[in-house]
Symmetry: C2
Subunit: 598 residues, 2 copies
């Protein structure tokens, strides 16, 4: 059964790309001028094939045999060598980067549609790509010519890989407390000394070298986030004699419960005093460099969440279609044959809920990717600025909705399998393990929530939120003219108004010197806003489906199911908005609770 898992629904990807997010319009922008639907489709089709034929068969073997630390080294699963080579050949490392750096100049929207297959097939295998991409992009954006040639080029060519080395054992999410040290040397490089933890893919043996994009503090740097600089710290450094050991020691391997094909390591830099790093960006501006890349990384995590929920959804759908059990309610004749469990309403509920999360989440991530494309490639400055503001605002939702609700979807996929789902002979439990990381890495859900409500809503004075409501209002109009059931548009409008009133009141509270009080329900606010934006994406999909049906486009079942999913999200999920606003306004319990009472 697993063999036939499509990973992601091809028809849905086509629908989202062309009928909802109008990928073709992007081809009219100068940056993407060499492309058209044909080249978009070719790239997505190639990634899909690679995902199904090469990454997917390796998923279970990689999950079952995670890399171990032995003699100070970690070696990735043997199948990663071919997978890496094939992914590099396909061009996934720089698909959305310009040709100047060897990229394919594809819209991020299109590379998103390709990535989701690769992630759904094998999250860990794709992890090596994601990290290398992020590291290379950091150097592309902030590095000088030397660091670009020395580090970015080998990474984009797939000869080396990259990592993000931010977290330290004593600091966790609190990057202000990073203590890794850097001291400038005469040759222009820096001596690095410190310890990092949870560094994915910091050793693997797939390529010759690994470049750790490392946050560290220069001697005499200010305390806090304003004294952090960014360095490229390779595992081995280039000398006249070739690559030599750069004193980056693997101090331990974390026994992760998921993503088991991608080693997560503790690193010690400079135990022998011989670890060199190269500054990327300006001194003390490391964290702001990191943050400029963060949207990209967070949207990628959102896509990980969508992909992991998608593959499990398709697995449970296939299972439910062929698993006979019980009979229809009211059928009292036990000699009648059993029916497939899709005939039971509660199983359909669990399947449809998964569908709304997977396809709503994918649409949301694509929306973010499209705004990233506009923010980078639109000719008019005001259009770029607007898209950038919307992207910035929506990022915490695009990261957290797939992580949190995607996890719910994975739980439902397991539940549909009954007792079999509880066994490691089926794969649904593995995706549950994989998914759990997405609410933790690249900023926990709690961190995303503070980012959304604190920085991007209250500090922003609600301007980005107002832009979003304009987008939503336009969709409400569009859905109306497309003939979507009016109760959906009305519910969308009501929910947006509830959110708007809450934003206003929390803003007033923050201004009255109660910022901690205003931020206390940040997680509920994130949940609320996520529900609003995913409902919005479903309204967009409903409008597109209604239009397609009106002109007789096929298959009608595909569009009918889209309308059913939209209705489910509006009738079952969107009412959570009112409830969450109630929580934000009225629940003072944990806010005022003395922690010592617990």
């Amino acid at each position: 059964m697993s063999g036939a898992n499509p990973l992601v629904d091809d028809r849905d990807v086509e629908f989202l790309l062309y009928e909802v997010h109008d990928a073709q319009a992007l081809a009219s922008l100068p940056k993407f001028a060499e492309h058209d639907r044909e080249t978009f489709d070719l790239f997505v089709a190639s990634a899909r094939r690679l995902a199904r034929e090469t990454l997917w068969p390796a998923y279970r073997p990689m999950d079952e045999a995670p890399p171990k630390l032995a003699d100070g080294r970690v070696r990735a699963h043997a199948s990663m060598h071919e997978i890496w080579t094939r992914m590099v050949e396909l061009g996934v490392l720089s698909a959305s980067r310009p040709e100047a750096v060897g990229g394919l100049s594809l819209p991020l929207l299109v590379s998103t549609a390709a990535d989701v297959y690769l992630m759904a097939a094998n999250l860990s295998a794709f992890g090596y790509v994601g990290l290398t991409r992020g590291a290379a992009h950091l150097i592309e954006a902030f590095g000088d010519q030397t660091t670009r040639e020395q580090f970015m080029v080998p990474m984009l060519e797939g000869r080396w890989t990259g990592t993000m080395a931010l977290t330290e054992p004593q600091a966790g999410s609190s990057l202000a407390d990073v203590t890794t040290k850097a001291r400038q040397l005469d040759d222009g490089s820096y001596r690095i000394c410190g310890a990092k933890i949870f560094i994915s893919a910091a050793d693997h043996g797939i390529t010759d070298n690994v470049v750790n994009m490392t946050l560290a503090r220069l001697d005499g740097a200010p305390a806090g986030t304003k004294g952090i600089s960014l360095f490229a710290v390779p595992q081995r450094r280039v000398t006249a004699e070739g690559l030599v050991d750069n004193d980056v020691r693997v101090a331990g391997a974390i026994h992760k419960i998921g993503w088991r094909g991608l080693p997560s390591l503790a690193l010690n830099f400079g135990e022998r005093g011989d670890c060199h790093g190269w500054l990327v960006g300006r001194q003390h501006e490391g964290l702001s460099c990191m943050f400029q890349m963060m949207n990209e990384a967070r949207i990628m995590i959102g896509l990980n969440g969508v992909a992991t929920a998608s593959v499990a959804y398709h697995e449970s759908l296939a299972y439910a279609r062929q698993r006979p059990q019980g009979r229809a309610i009211g059928e009292r004749d036990p000699t009648q044959p059993m029916v497939p469990i899709t005939q039971h309403a509660d199983v359909r509920r669990m399947l449809l809920r998964q569908k709304t999360i997977v396809e709503g989440g994918l649409s949301l991530v694509m929306q973010a990717a499209r705004w990233a494309d506009i923010a980078e490639a639109a000719p008019e400055a005001h259009v770029r600025t607007r898209a950038a503001a919307l992207l910035d605002f929506i990022t915490p939702m695009a990261k957290s909705f797939p992580a949190e609700r995607g996890y719910d979807a994975n739980v439902l996929a397991l539940q549909i399998h009954g007792g079999y789902g509880y066994s490691s002979e089926y794969l649904v439990e593995a995706w549950l393990r994989d998914q759990k990381l997405n609410s933790i890495h690249e900023g926990t859900t709690g961190i995303q929530a503070l980012d959304l409500l604190g920085r991007k809503t209250l500090k922003d004075g609600g301007r980005a939120f107002a832009l979003l409501t304009e987008e939503i209002a336009a969709t409400v109009q569009d859905a109306k003219s497309a003939g979507v059931a009016t109760r959906l548009g009305q519910a969308m409008q009501d929910a947006t108004e509830i959110a708007g009133a809450l934003v206003k009141d929390l803003g007033a509270q923050a201004k009255k010197d109660d910022l901690p009080g205003a931020l206390a329900h940040a997680s509920d606010f994130l949940d609320l806003m996520s529900t609003v934006v995913v409902a919005w994406q479903w309204l967009r999909q409903a409008a597109a489906a209604q239009r397609a049906l009106a002109i007789g486009r096929r298959p009608a079942e595909f569009y009918g199911a889209k309308l059913a999913a939209a209705a489910h999200f509006f009738d079952a999920e969107l009412p959570r908005v009112g409830m969450l606003a109630h929580r934000c306004r009225h629940d003072r319990s944990f806010v005022e609770l003395d922690p010592s009472w617990l």
Copy 2:
């Protein structure tokens, strides 16, 4: 840190037993007349000590080395031998059974308070007790003198253990489709032939023998549930030459993701035609015998869920208290020391939510246990009948709320641990795995939902629901007179009215020949009712806490935290009732969806 985990809060157990559920009043019933608070406390304290000193240290070793099938046999972890002996010595197998069968005649309420520690310490270890208890109780209730002597006595003495052998590979939850065969033999026993799956503890080597309480179909029995009989089918049968093999072969071991200390097996009965079973109860009435025991088993599963959430809650609380990270919102001086993460509102939210689930769930299960005690031991028939009806009605909630919301609590415990929670070096991920089974075994959440809405609400004409609303109304009055904030009582009343109106409307829908439509949202209805009854339990706790504070009982922090938890449940969770009722009334999406469209 784990070493100091209390598993369950002692003060909370005392509070629930004596200040909320009035365990002392039970001692005035003739059945429990030999007991008083002192003997109750002694038993609970002994179980608590055994849990902490013996079961808990074995938890991780048992999780790490699950039993394997080798040479047709399965052997439990070596530490189970001592654990089993000690549990038998304590009397847990028959604590709540009468002295006539060697029991301690303790109220189920009190044995619940003891069991929760043992379960929280080591769910798998307790599993052997739970199964043996259930099997012995089945024979006590329905067996004749011979089967009692032959099977029940050795089980209650801890010399043999028991299992429940219901599920078959082709039938799953659909017991109507059980095909295992039974043919009567001249000696009064039956020849059994068939296959069962997911049979926990069917082989282990801890005791000499295992008794499988097996559902099978006599030759010529009617199809469906009315043709099923119950048999005791031992692994080895008693002959003049002692115990001989009874042709019950272990055909496979399930690789479960949790409960890894308790083997789950596939069994083949009668491959050599030499498997004997002994009828328990009357022919063709096996399923109704099973169902009479089901409440007990399901409440035990609920307690499993509470226990698993409890141990993880305490682990995450201890972690949060000692883990420094970041600073208070508004603190801009990075040279200030970091604060423990309990200082962050969102962490307190996650902790308080866990507390409401753990302590609300425990109170709910205790409520069910108390009704079971009254139903069995009250002198007046009408009191027994009323308690039995309430117990029957509340059972699906007592089983499912801890399973479903307990899982949410386990997710939060992991989230609080951040990246460390994602590693198997910490225990929070193990409890997440353990908890997942509770929404599946002993009737999935979907099955519980149909039981609650179909059989116990609509078919019952809402009579049991009306009894429950009487109980809730009494608590609302009591909370008022105790001085609990009036908004809680009002919210309780409103939520109960929403539920009542929904019951009425669904009843009308069912009568209008739309039973499938009325039952379509059974899972949402179960969720709704679970929220109502747990809010009710929190209102009871709030009233008790308010009274304790009024008379200056200590520690005030304990009661203060109870009030905060009650407020949290009312302000954050109870509003879900309105939302869920909206779903039940308005969401037709999956109900009408053609399964082939998915």
